[in-house]
C-alpha cells in the first residue's frame, strides 16, 4: 500500500491547473490548494490527455476511479512494481502525494506531523478531522504507555486529546488506563476498538475507514465489486441447485434446468416394505410427526386423541387426551422432551412425554383445520388462529404476533431456518412471508389449482431457493423462490396432488402424494424414469381414511 514515491521526475507528470477540483461521489468536494507547481499532484480528474472519462459500454465507470482501484488491487496482491508502473503509465495516482505523505507519517510514527498533514488534506468535514486526529493521538498515547513514558502519555491526553472535545467516554477510559495498569490490560483486550497493542498498519486501516473513499481508496474494493457481481449472478440464476457449480469470472453464471428434480424415479421395490401398521386411532389420522431423534412417531386423529408410537417396535407408548375435547394437530418440541397439540376448543396444550400437561393457552389460538408448527429453537409456536390470520406465539416472552391476510388461509409451511412462512390461501395463491423481525409479505406464487382440498406446499432445493406445491390438477408445481417465476409443472399423477416434500439433505429429490393413491419420488434425469408405489394421500399428513 502507499509507498509510491512522489519524487518522480516532473516530466512524467502533467502540469497542473491552478486549482484542481474533484467532485467526490458522495457529493462533498475536496479542494486542493495547489500552488501552480508540479510538486503536489492529484489524481487528475477530467482534463487528462484527451482520453475518455468513462470506460465500459454503459458509460457509468469513471476511468480515474477504475484505474485507482486496479492500482490498489495490484498493491494488495503484492505487485508493488506493477502498481507503481500503472500509476506512472496512466498518469493517475492512486493517492495524492499528500495522502502518501500522511500514510508514511502514520506508519513511521510521526504523530504530530501526521495530524498537521491531516488538516492540510482539505477535508471539509470537521468531525472527520477530529475523529482521525483522535485515533492518531490515541495511538501516540498507547505507544508512550508501552514505552513506560507515563508523563508523556499524560501530557498527550491532557493537551492534545482532551481539547478535541469528542468521545468523552473514551477519554475517561484512557485516563483510567494511566491510573490502573491492570485496566490497561483489559483495554488491551483483543476487542476491536479497545485494543492498544495494535499495529500501525491497523491504525492506517481504521483511518482509511474514516476518510472519504475518494481520498483514500478502501481496501479490497475491486474484490468486493467482483464478489458483488458474482453474488447477483448467482441470485439471478433461477435453476441454481448444486453446490459444486463453480462460478467463473470468464462467463456469466447460468445453470441449465437439469438441476431441478423433474423426472419420476424408479424406486427399488425391495427397498420399501411395510414395517408396521399402527392401530389404535378410532378416527381418521390427520397428522403424523417424527420425533427429532427419528425413533418415535406422534399421530393425531381428527378431533380425537394424540398417540405416541415407538417406530421400531410399532408399540403405542402414550395416549394424550383431554376430557370432553378432541385434538386437531400435534408436534414435537425441538429437543424431543415435550409435545404440543391443538385442541378443538381453540386452545393449544403442551404435554410432558409422560402425559402431564405443562401448559395450556386458552383463547383463540388455533382452528379445527389448522396446522401447528414450532420453530427449531423452540421459541415460537405458529398456528392459524382465525380464518384470515396466523398467530406466532412466543412462548417465553409471551408475545403474540399476527400475519393478516385478505383471504381465508388453508395451510402453511415453515422454512427450515425459521425465517419464512409459506401461506396457502383459498383463492389459489401462495404467499411468502418473512417472519424474522417485522412480519412482511415478500412474494406471491400462482398457477396451481385449489378449490376443495387442503393443498400443501414446501420449501426446497439448495438453500431453500425453490417453492414446491401440490395442486388439484394433478401437477406438481415448482417456482423459483426469489423471482416468483414458475419453473416446472410436473405431470405424472392421475389425481389431485395433496402435498409435497423436498428432501432436506438432497436438493435433487422431491416427493409428492396424490389422490391416485401413489407417492412419486422425483429426481434428476440420469436415472431411469418409472414410478413407484405404496398407498397414501400424504407424506407428513395422512389425509382421509386409514
Amino acid at each position: 500500500m502507499g509507498g509510491v514515491e512522489d519524487d518522480e521526475p516532473a516530466s512524467k507528470r502533467m502540469k497542473l491547473s491552478s486549482e484542481a477540483l474533484i467532485h467526490l461521489s458522495n457529493g462533498s468536494t475536496v479542494k486542493e490548494s495547489i500552488v501552480g507547481s508540479s510538486r503536489d499532484l492529484m489524481a487528475r480528474p477530467l482534463q487528462s490527455d484527451g482520453g475518455e472519462e468513462v470506460v465500459g459500454s454503459k458509460g457509468v465507470i469513471k476511468k480515474v476511479e477504475f484505474v485507482r482501484i486496479i492500482a490498489k488491487a495490484l498493491y494488495s496482491l503484492g505487485y508493488i512494481r506493477s502498481g507503481a508502473h500503472l500509476e506512472e503509465e496512466s498518469g493517475i495516482a492512486l493517492h495524492s502525494s499528500i495522502i502518501n505523505v500522511f500514510m508514511r507519517q502514520v506508519l513511521e510514527g510521526d504523530w504530530d506531523e501526521s495530524v498537521a498533514t491531516l488538516h492540510n488534506i482539505g477535508l471539509t468535514d470537521e468531525m472527520i478531522i477530529k475523529s482521525a486526529s483522535f485515533l492518531i493521538l490515541e495511538q501516540k498515547f498507547f505507544e508512550f504507555l508501552d514505552e513506560e513514558k507515563v508523563m508523556d502519555a499524560l501530557k498527550t491526553l491532557r493537551t492534545e486529546i482532551s481539547p478535541l472535545c469528542i468521545n468523552h467516554g473514551r477519554v475517561r477510559e484512557l485516563s483510567l488506563s494511566i491510573v490502573s495498569p491492570s485496566h490497561c490490560f483489559t483495554v488491551r483486550s483483543p476487542k476491536q476498538n479497545t485494543s492498544r497493542a495494535r499495529s500501525r498498519t491497523k491504525l492506517l486501516e481504521e483511518l482509511q475507514k474514516l476518510l472519504p473513499p475518494t481520498v483514500m481508496v478502501p481496501e479490497r474494493r475491486l474484490e468486493h465489486l467482483v464478489e458483488q457481481a458474482l453474488g447477483l449472478q448467482r441470485d439471478a440464476c433461477m435453476f441454481h441447485n448444486s453446490l459444486d457449480e463453480e462460478i467463473s469470472l470468464f462467463a456469466d453464471h447460468q445453470c441449465a434446468r437439469d438441476q431441478i428434480p423433474s423426472y419420476a424415479l424408479q424406486v427399488d421395490a425391495n427397498g420399501i416394505s411395510l414395517k408396521h401398521k399402527l392401530s389404535g386411532h378410532q378416527k381418521p389420522v390427520s397428522s403424523v410427526s417424527w420425533s427429532p431423534d427419528d425413533h418415535q412417531l406422534l399421530t393425531c386423529g381428527v378431533e380425537e386423541v394424540v398417540r405416541r408410537w415407538d417406530a421400531s417396535s410399532g408399540e403405542c407408548l402414550s395416549v394424550y387426551e383431554k376430557a370432553g375435547l378432541g385434538m386437531v394437530s400435534c408436534g414435537w418440541s425441538p429437543d424431543g422432551k415435550w409435545i404440543f397439540s391443538g385442541v378443538n376448543d381453540k386452545s393449544i396444550s403442551l404435554w410432558e412425554l409422560d402425559g402431564r400437561e405443562l401448559e395450556c393457552w386458552k383463547g383463540q389460538h388455533t382452528l379445527k383445520i389448522s396446522d401447528l408448527e414450532i420453530t427449531s429453537d423452540g421459541k415460537q409456536i405458529i398456528s392459524i388462529c382465525r380464518e384470515t390470520a396466523i398467530l406466532l406465539l412466543d412462548r417465553e416472552a409471551k408475545v403474540e404476533r399476527f400475519i393478516e391476510e385478505d383471504q381465508t388461509i388453508t395451510s402453511f409451511s415453515l422454512s427450515r431456518d425459521n425465517r419464512f412462512l409459506l401461506v396457502n390461501l383459498l383463492n389459489q395463491e401462495i404467499h411468502l412471508w418473512s417472519i424474522e423481525d417485522d412480519l412482511k409479505l415478500v412474494s406471491k406464487y400462482r398457477g396451481h389449482k385449489r378449490t376443495r382440498f387442503i393443498i400443501r406446499s414446501c420449501f426446497g432445493g439448495l438453500e431453500q431457493a425453490f417453492v414446491a406445491s401440490g395442486s388439484e390438477d394433478s401437477l406438481v408445481y415448482i417456482w423459483h423462490r426469489g423471482t416468483g417465476e414458475l419453473i416446472e409443472a410436473l405431470p405424472g399423477h392421475s389425481g389431485a396432488v395433496n402435498c409435497v416434500s423436498w428432501n432436506p439433505t438432497n436438493p435433487h429429490m422431491l416427493a409428492s402424494a396424490s389422490d391416485d393413491r401413489t407417492i412419486r419420488i422425483w429426481g434428476l434425469n440420469n436415472l431411469s424414469a418409472k414410478q413407484k408405489d405404496t398407498h397414501g394421500n400424504g407424506i407428513h399428513y395422512c389425509n382421509g381414511g386409514t
Partner: protein
C-alpha cells in the same frame, strides 16, 4: 380423497342437508323471499365451503342476471346460485351475494324443508320489497 378444507362457522348455521358441511350464518341472511324450483330460497351476503360453477346468463323473475351455480365442497351437491352480475340497476344489490335453496340445507335447529306438492312455484328469483 384428499383432506377437505372446510370453514367452521359459529352461531346459527345453515348446513348442507346431505353432509352437514357449514354453508351460511343466519345473521348473513339478507332476504327470505327468494324462490327456486324447489320452493323457498334465502339470499345470503356470505356463504362458505362452496365451489362455483360456470357463469351463465339467466332470465329470472326480476330480469336478466349473470349467475353461477354453487356446490357444496363436501358432497358436491348443488345448493344454490351466486349472482355475479345484475343487468338492471335495481337488481345490483344482489351482486356478489348467494342464494341457498331452503330445500338443500338444514336450518340452525336441524330442521329441513319439504317441497309442498301441488303448489307450483313460477320460477327462480324474487325481489326484496
Amino acid at each position: 380423497m384428499g383432506r377437505l378444507f372446510v370453514v367452521n362457522l359459529e352461531g346459527k348455521v345453515y348446513s348442507c342437508k346431505h353432509c352437514k358441511t357449514h354453508l351460511g350464518l343466519c345473521e348473513d341472511i339478507v332476504s327470505k323471499s327468494f324462490h327456486c324450483r324447489h320452493g323457498k330460497a334465502y339470499l345470503f351476503s356470505k356463504v362458505v365451503n362452496v365451489t362455483t360453477g360456470e357463469k351463465e346468463d339467466r332470465l329470472m323473475m326480476t330480469g336478466l342476471h349473470t349467475v353461477a351455480d354453487i356446490f357444496c365442497v363436501g358432497c358436491g351437491s348443488i345448493v344454490g346460485w351466486k349472482y355475479e352480475m345484475a343487468h338492471e340497476k335495481s337488481q345490483k344489490y344482489k351482486e356478489g351475494k348467494s342464494v341457498l335453496e331452503r330445500f338443500k340445507v338444514s336450518g340452525p335447529d336441524g330442521s329441513n324443508y319439504w317441497i309442498s306438492h301441488g303448489r307450483h312455484v313460477g320460477g327462480s328469483d324474487a325481489d326484496d320489497v
